[in-house]
């Protein structure tokens, strides 16, 4: 594989960039693989990459209905963080942070990981207390957390509304300085290019239509491009998990919802980190192109449409305006939607299933992108070793029936409120 560097860039400039190698091939599916990963999003691509790299399993196919990176890995708001309170979530995502820090070098692809910090704002004494508790929990797990008072927040985001008339005055906030953003498409492409180089077949425009299960053991899958035998099959299809679960006669603790995001027109550098509003569901960051990237609530009803409705955008941006009045002067460039696996406790599932050789990676709720590397890493381990890794040992499917929920937000089973 051609290595990307400043020298290869200069060399290819002489031929008008016409002679770059293709980044990944477009193979026809073979009749049999050791492992088939369904879903060519960030998590599926990362899983295939770590299967090849960490476990030397290279006879692997990724089956993608659309095109790689066309789903949620290209639709999220690129935030990466590990500011969780529960040990299982904190350890899992902090391991992921370590993978992020080295990802551009490892993939030889600039994923533009930018640890610019995230501030969760607090608007009451009670919220400050809750954040102090969460910050302490984070620090006990070795994650950097800083409790900011009002003056410290004002220094960092002076453009927020610090006047006396506001409905939700800023009391302070909890900051994770090592959190940040990355270029989401580059993550998918970087993993795809390396996985392809190690022998993984990336098969696009191929829809899974059924599963071949004999005596409780997976034998293969049926697709729009023919049957494919497989010793092991991994599902990485957050957003469509319930559709495939139906084909498997499984019912899961997941509802599928649409989540919208939007960007403004590009403006000069203004906001250097990620900020979340504590009195409503709104968060904002500024992309390297200058657009304000914003998101918030789910539309709030079961949906598979990758588009939402205006009332939710209005509601989210009302919160945005309460925090940052300057937003009222900005034009909206575009809005879009992605479909979310909303799990019943707000935490993901990476586990084996009751079908031998079938593995499940789903339930990512709002936060799949930040976990892309660690999700792939632990899912690859779970598939290769046929057992969960310590890192995903609490992200089991049976935690709902045993009562070991990871309800980080304590919101219960109304997923559309979370």
């Amino acid at each position: 594989m051609q290595k990307y560097s400043v020298f290869s860039l200069i060399k290819n400039a002489f031929s008008n960039h016409q002679n770059w190698e293709v980044a990944w091939k477009d193979p026809t599916p073979k009749s049999e693989y050791d492992v088939v990963i369904i879903g060519g999003g960030g998590h599926g691509l990362a899983t295939a990459y770590y299967l090849a790299k960490e476990h030397n399993i290279r006879n692997v196919a990724i089956i993608e209905k659309g095109w790689i990176g066309g789903g949620n890995v290209g639709r999220n708001t690129t935030i990466i963080r590990s500011n969780f309170m529960y040990d299982a979530n904190a350890r899992f995502n902090e391991f992921g942070m370590d993978l992020w820090r080295n990802l551009s070098q490892e993939l030889n692809f600039n994923v533009m990981f930018s640890p610019r910090g995230i501030i969760n704002l607090a608007h009451s004494d009670a919220q400050m207390n809750a954040y102090a508790r969460r910050g302490n929990s984070m620090r006990l797990n070795g994650i950097d957390a800083k409790l900011l008072d009002r003056e410290e927040v004002k220094k960092l985001i002076p453009m927020a509304d610090f006047s006396d008339e506001v409905r939700f005055p800023i009391f302070g906030g909890l900051m994770q300085p090592s959190a940040g953003t990355a270029r989401h498409d580059a993550v998918a492409w970087g993993y795809a290019r390396q996985a392809d180089d190690m022998g993984v077949d990336i098969i696009q425009h191929c829809e899974v239509t059924g599963f071949d299960i004999v005596n409780g053991k997976i034998k293969g899958i049926r697709t729009s491009r023919g049957d494919i035998k497989a010793k092991k099959v991994g599902l990485c299809v957050a957003g469509s998990t319930n559709i495939l679960a139906e084909k498997l006669n499984m019912t899961l603790p997941i509802e599928t919802h649409v989540l919208q995001a939007c960007v403004s027109e590009p403006v000069k550098p203004l906001l250097d980190g990620v900020v979340t509003f504590g009195a409503g569901h709104f968060y904002i960051s500024q992309s390297d192109k200058g657009e304000m990237v914003m998101g918030g609530d789910l539309d709030g009803y079961n949906s598979y449409a990758q588009r939402g409705n205006l009332p939710t955008i209005q509601h989210v941006l009302t919160g945005g305006l309460a925090l940052f009045p300057f937003l009222s002067r900005l034009k909206m460039l575009r809005t879009w939607g992605g479909i979310m696996d909303m799990s019943m406790d707000g935490s993901p599932i990476i586990d084996k299933t009751h079908i031998e050789g079938l593995y499940l990676n789903c339930g990512w709720c709002y936060g799949g992108f930040k976990s892309t590397p660690v999700s792939g890493w632990t899912f690859a381990h779970t598939i290769a070793q046929d057992q969960v890794h310590e890192l995903n040992s609490e992200l089991r499917l049976n935690r709902f029936s045993t009562g070991h929920l990871l309800d980080e937000k304590g919101l219960g089973t109304k997923t559309w409120i979370g």
């Binding site: 139906e246 603790p253 079961n302 019943m344 029936s401």
Partner: protein, 89 residues
């Protein structure tokens, strides 16, 4: 914007309603032995189909009644609405 026909008030904008989830989930009968699996299914497990979905909405900014709505989860088209005591087929 969705427009939902409340069986009591007529066609109203989505903003007047709040969502209540899958209407086909049945609570286990009261005063009867309930297995853990049945509770698990009632509390956590959801089919969440792509296509026609019967769901509960509350006309929170109107008559405050709970209603049933049959809606397509892929196109958002609404086919039928009914009182919560009525069946949608």
């Amino acid at each position: 914007m969705l427009y939902i026909k409340c069986p009591y008030c007529g066609l109203r904008a989505q903003k007047e309603f709040s969502y209540g989830g899958d209407a086909t989930i049945k609570r286990p009968n009261i005063n009867e032995e309930v297995s853990s699996e049945d509770w698990d299914n009632f509390v956590y497990m959801r089919k969440s189909p792509r296509g026609k979905h019967i769901e509960l909405w509350q006309h929170i900014a109107g008559c405050r009644q709970w209603i049933k709505v049959q809606r397509d989860t892929a196109t958002h088209e609404i086919f039928q609405t009914a009182k919560v005591t009525e069946e949608i087929r």
